[in-house]
């Protein structure tokens, strides 16, 4: 199956797409992996594995939406870091509230969310979610992968994926509830 998927990158457009992604995100992927894993060899493993995942999903990678592509690459690197060295990721830094504000001012991405305070707090809450939950939730809700695909990508059991997504959603609901109080 995998051989079939990989041989499917015969399409010159897909190859070009892949090359462009690599050129564009190579630095970010390495910085992220190095920061998290602190070792060149582990980082190489994480980046090459994440890149392999991108290659396998190349048909559904949206290159015309830079934000989504960045988020996708970031999620896959994060996932590989968790797979390689789970304990290294537990103390991952929380997103600073100022960074959230700067992002809002750049992209006005909270326009659909009525209260900016709620949005900021909810985003801050997400940064506190266990990383495995965040990866599963992103792949499922943002990028539309199925439970089975997520289980394959995250090297987890189907039941684990389902429970991470279910619990993740419950936690996000509770963040929102708390922030609205």
């Amino acid at each position: 199956m995998l051989a079939l998927l990989l041989s499917a990158i015969d399409d010159p457009n897909d190859k070009l797409k892949l090359e462009n992604i690599y050129k564009k995100y190579y630095q970010m992927m390495f910085k992220m992996a190095m920061k998290r894993l602190g070792d060149v060899h582990y980082a190489e493993d994480a980046v090459s594995n994440a890149f392999m995942r991108i290659a396998l999903s190349i048909k559904r990678v949206e290159t015309d939406n830079e934000d989504r592509l960045t988020a996708f690459v970031c999620t896959l690197v994060k996932n590989e870091c968790i797979r390689i060295f789970p304990e290294k990721n537990r103390s991952d830094k929380l997103i600073d509230i100022e960074e959230i504000r700067s992002l809002r001012s750049q992209d006005d991405i909270s326009s659909e969310i009525e209260e900016k305070e709620v949005y900021e707090k909810a985003l801050f809450g997400i940064s506190r979610l266990p990383e495995e939950y965040t990866v599963a939730l992103r792949l499922y809700l943002v990028f539309g992968f199925s439970y089975g695909e997520i289980a394959e990508i995250t090297d987890s059991k189907l039941g684990t994926v389902k429970s991470r997504i279910k619990r993740g959603i419950e936690k996000m609901r509770s963040f929102l509830k708390e922030t609205k109080k």
């Binding site: 392999m52 960045t70 988020a71 959230i100």
Partner: protein
């Protein structure tokens, strides 16, 4: 169940959290690394479409357990190779052929050099003598008690396969370190084994316990 509004909101929050995370690395200094040949080969392989599935460094307990079982099976198979091989039987024309173990093939004979006899016999049985030696390849000794009898057949073992009746069910026991096969039919046991270059068969009433038969086997000695 999530509402559409909820789904939209959560997607946006998750996407934004990923963007924040990605952008947090913008300020990090550029990475300038001399990559390992393995990494370069891997990346080139991905572009050529000939790489393999991302490998996991994490071994789950389940995988470790399966690996341990496989290793244990291999070790057992190596340690008990003759026993394992003993179970290799071929079904030919209604008969099974039991493949002999290397130990059983260690001694092969062309003729009977020593005649064996039973030294442990149930009370009341007496040996019917003289039993003619059938040939220099086979001998039979007979003990009787009323209508019951016990037979010890001794044949030269010259290697090759060992035929057993395919319609019978044989049970294997290990007696004094020797593989012994027995079956029961018409009130009699048929017990066979190979030892010292001979194929022995004891036929005796099945009213006796197998433990007693084992003692009889242990008591088969040169006359």
């Amino acid at each position: 169940m999530m509402t559409l509004k909820e789904k939209k909101l959560f997607s946006k929050l998750l996407l934004d959290s990923a963007l924040l995370e990605a952008r947090s690395f913008n300020e990090e200094p550029e990475v300038s690394l001399d990559h390992s040949p393995l990494y370069i080969a891997k990346i080139n392989g991905i572009f050529k479409g000939e790489n393999e599935k991302p490998r996991s460094l994490k071994l789950s307990p389940k995988v470790l357990l399966i690996a341990a079982i496989i290793i244990a099976l291999i070790i057992t198979a190596v340690a008990c190779a003759p026993i394992i091989r003993r179970f290799i039987v071929r079904f030919i024309d209604g008969n099974y052929e039991v493949i002999p173990t290397p130990e059983e093939n260690e001694v092969v004979r062309q003729r009977i050099d020593d005649i064996y006899t039973l030294t442990i016999i149930p009370d009341g049985f007496f040996e019917v003598e003289p039993q003619p030696v059938l040939s220099d390849m086979h001998t039979v000794r007979l003990w009787m008690k009323g209508e019951e009898n016990i037979v010890l057949a001794q044949s030269v073992w010259n290697g090759g396969a060992w035929n057993i009746d395919g319609e019978r069910t044989y049970t294997k026991i290990i007696c004094n370190g020797i593989d012994v096969y027995y079956s029961e039919e018409f009130g009699y046991y048929d017990v066979s084994w190979i030892y010292d270059g001979y194929l022995f068969t004891i036929t005796c009433p099945s009213s006796y316990e197998i433990s007693y038969i084992e003692r009889m086997i242990g008591g088969v000695k040169i006359k």
